[in-house]
Assembly symmetry: C2
Amino acid sequence: MSFERAGHPPFRADQTTVRRANLGVVLQQIAGGAPRSRARVAAETGLTRGTVSSLVGELIDLDLLRETGEDQRSGRAGRPGLALELSDRVVAVGLEVNVDYLAVCVEDLAGNVRYEKRVHTDNRRTSPRPVLNRLVRLAREAEAVIGAEGLVSAGVAVALPGLVSAESGTLLRAPNLGWSGIPVAEEISSRLDGVAVRADNEANLAALAEHWQGVARGLDNFICVFAEVGVGAGIFIGGDLFRGSHGFGAELGHITVDPGGLLCQCGAIGCLETIVGQEAIARRAGISDDDQRRARNVTRELVRRAEQGDGEVIASLSEAGRALGIGLASAVNLFDVDAVVLGGCLGPLAPWLVADVHEALAVRVLSSGWSGCEVLVSKFGEGAAVRGAAALTLRSVLAEPWLVAERNGSVRERVS
Amino acid sequence: MSFERAGHPPFRADQTTVRRANLGVVLQQIAGGAPRSRARVAAETGLTRGTVSSLVGELIDLDLLRETGEDQRSGRAGRPGLALELSDRVVAVGLEVNVDYLAVCVEDLAGNVRYEKRVHTDNRRTSPRPVLNRLVRLAREAEAVIGAEGLVSAGVAVALPGLVSAESGTLLRAPNLGWSGIPVAEEISSRLDGVAVRADNEANLAALAEHWQGVARGLDNFICVFAEVGVGAGIFIGGDLFRGSHGFGAELGHITVDPGGLLCQCGAIGCLETIVGQEAIARRAGISDDDQRRARNVTRELVRRAEQGDGEVIASLSEAGRALGIGLASAVNLFDVDAVVLGGCLGPLAPWLVADVHEALAVRVLSSGWSGCEVLVSKFGEGAAVRGAAALTLRSVLAEPWLVAERNGSVRERVS
DNA sequence: TTAGTTTGTGCGACGTCCATACAAAACCCG
DNA sequence: CGGGTTTTGTATGGACGTCGCACAAACTAA
């Protein structure tokens, strides 16, 4: 109904604003369901068939939509409509730097993963430069695939494990990586011939992924915990990612849950991260750092042992669940969300955690009597952040379709 | 830049949408500063002088703007502009039900309080009906004043001490009042000849008041604590009031700060409210319930004793400050706000609290090193909620000016 | 085959903003 | 004191986008 985000930076509107808005409306309408005819879209959006025709024409020219045969119709009278669905030619590249791996993925508008690669490397005490070089090599491979299949890239985004300034794309501080003040987006962009690159926190992007194609589809308010070595959270409010004033919000990993506990990387005592992180769980289960390194994938090792009935591991997991529940409870009390999603390493480990999280929430959440806050398990687990990075770009394509013209339009316009 | 709240419910745009948006843009531009000429507004918004002229004409017809002589100009060449400022003829009515008083206020668009009244009554064990009757009587008096001065009412809103469903205007649960499930907005509306009435939580509205004309002007992200008998909080995010999925958000009063503490009205143990509320502070300072009742205004009594150097009171206040700081810290960690505002009875009591709140925040807020979170003292104190109720309506007039035509336009259109 | 229904497109009308031109009202300066 | 300059507010024609309507195409039902 209203315009803009009712907040203070109002922006003047004119006819092109209208056009752009309606391009977005039509595209999102088609994205949010089964293939549909122009006429149905018109009926659903309130636009005229004529206007929808015009808008769809432009979207097809932009390679965002395509006509795929006829609308499936159950013997109703009248001329059949031509089904419209999202094009599979526009893709986005997602990158991820984590403590013990690098990852890349290419996803198209329809949500299909077209390419995916993940390499294990210990980035913990490596300086940023070689790590970014390796990441850029992965990105280049992905772009080669994109080119070979005749796809169009809408942009690149990178997920980072730490405090990120989303506007500038700078990694401000990553305790578990030992990095600080690295202009990651800029660095990557310059090595990829100036392609636009965005950067964001891994937990934010994991939340985005779950909302885009995961367990949180259709949920407008939820918290997604993303634990690897560190523990972060992405918060969705009103269908959009919530970032604080400076991007320091949702630092769930550094909520105090055990004042008499261990020293955290951040300098404080008893942070949630000292109990719930992947390595914290292992350490508390009596698995030495050496054993962890040998196992390569710590989460898989934990799952293996838990499945075998290892008492120490199961106890450590249960404890982690309880601590997590305590931490989440204050967040749920303040944000009043509909659901909590357990992601990252908590995905695979969920079977030994969920019950404890549930219980802690039930006890501590004020409104638990009225509005049950669901506990969901991530669909993508450790792969959520990369996919979220791709989704970041894809989502903005749906919301602001006209921007793709400014990226690749110069070529296209000469053709048409 | 983008349209709509990027979220999922997209809405088609057309020319009237543009017009409405620009009406809002012009009005808010003029509202957000000193009186200005059409030409300046044009330069600031990016609209043409011609377009601004047309928009301003419509806004003047709606009685939202007025021309007030000439623009103050410091000897610059050129024809002087006609200064435009907010009309003082459009007002809104704010109402408030609290535990020990009822209040009404009439405020105009420019932020002037045109009428104000507050009556002390113990509503604690009174049934809703007589209380609402008394409130409606206050509202009627206010409307009489509005009529007598030739003003136009844009709407009525009421502040309530408890969980409120803002859409339906229902008071779901007010522990300190002993009410639950009362359709307050509807009840008041029906007794005021069907005038539209909105209802919201007192803390939300207090936050709104501080943002509208108080200490939080210009702050887009802040938390406003509002303590009377109970303790609530209103949260501003991105220049807008944040309500959770169900309106249960920001229940700061029921965060656990002292697991071995007192039993709270809500049934839990050691809630913040058992230490920080007006009566809790008094009780912990050794002031009996009888003495409190005799004093009528508990806050004033506390201030009196603190000024006289009453050790018990000062200690209780300091303790409240510390508890508040602890509770606020988790909120600040999650919301990453720029400031915290102490409101309600905490306004007058601030001198004996602020230092403790500050200290607790400094220790417990993760990002306190980077982004200092200011602690501000409310400008309106206990009067914030009523003023916020009026501001709720006034704000929506600024954002959606065309709606006033639907309220009182039928008369006006016949005239013009 | 014919009538009825639905789809997609073309055309004129309307509303809104932009660019431009112009009169009015001040200041500046010789 | 009067002309030139600058700025303001308004009026006019053009561009753009949606709406309403009409029409041909394509299918179902009888």
